[in-house]
Amino acid sequence: MPKTLRSKNIDILLVEDNPGDVRLTREALKEGKVLNTLYVAIDGVDALEFLNKQGRYADVPRPDIILLDLNLPRKDGRELLADIKNNPDLRKIPVVILTTSKAEEDILKSYDLHANCYITKPVDLDQFLDVVKSIENFWFSIVKLPSGGQQ
């Protein structure tokens, strides 16, 4: 039988400083069909510590996918994206940009930095939930994610 659907739990790292958006994303993912665990980093520095398993993050898994906001305190999402995609150990992890920014420059620069896709967060609540569902459907069901390859 071909393994077209993953039965494995999907580990998601959400990098987001807005607690409201974190909560909405968490609830939308809980309602979804795909088993997942959501980890949250509140800025770029926190996210890098998570990805490098530093300090309190010594025992966290490598995420299967990263949902990244662009406007973040300390180290912003653009810088973090460049750090991830320039790091041979981290660059395989798909990064979905999920931001309120509609700026053309942000869209172009994100793809140039090898973001896997760019999505603008809708302000409308129902539309926001639809976007999370659409991410879930595409990235967790249709796409085959890298297996994590813990070295």
């Binding site: 395989k92 509609k102 869209i107 140039d112 090898h114 896997n116 896709c117 760019y118 297996s147």
Partner: protein
């Protein structure tokens, strides 16, 4: 008015090409389709080499892994290392479920890796899901007037 959304499909297996064509004609959102049967012709098209001087840059590339001549990895690598093309989203659409192929594709910065479902109906549904996601949910670099 923006140009119609266009997909460049790089696939030499004619049955799959016909299935994708049939699927796209039934999807809710119907993109234009351009087919290249091998990597060389796909790259010539993307680089706008003759006879493709007036070719429009596609919004999305669907790339098979096993191609005559240069394989999908070589094509992917050339696109993602070319500053003029790197921004184009490339989806690997292949029958290979091999973990090594998946890892390598992501390491070469593929935008997504999709295993072709064996059952035709599922295959066609996944084609509509792919186009729906990239046309409606994702923001594309090609749609911001580059």
């Amino acid at each position: 008015m923006l140009d119609p959304f266009t997909i460049l499909l790089v696939d030499d297996f004619s049955l799959d090409v016909e299935l994708i064509r049939a699927a796209l004609s039934r999807c809710k959102h119907k993109p234009g389709l351009r087919v290249s049967p091998d990597g060389e012709s796909a790259l010539a098209y993307l680089h706008k080499q003759p006879p493709h001087a007036s070719a429009a840059t596609p919004d999305l590339v669907l790339l098979d892994l096993h191609l005559p001549g240069r394989d999908g990895f070589a094509v992917l690598q050339e696109i993602k290392n070319d500053p003029g093309l790197a921004h184009i989203p490339v989806i690997m659409l292949t029958s290979s479920e091999d973990d090594g192929d998946v890892e390598r594709a992501y390491d070469l910065q593929v935008n997504g890796y999709i295993v072709k479902p064996v059952i035709a109906r599922q295959f066609m549904e996944s084609i509509c899901s792919i186009t729906e996601f990239w046309m409606k949910t994702a923001r594309l670099p090609s749609r911001v007037g580059r």
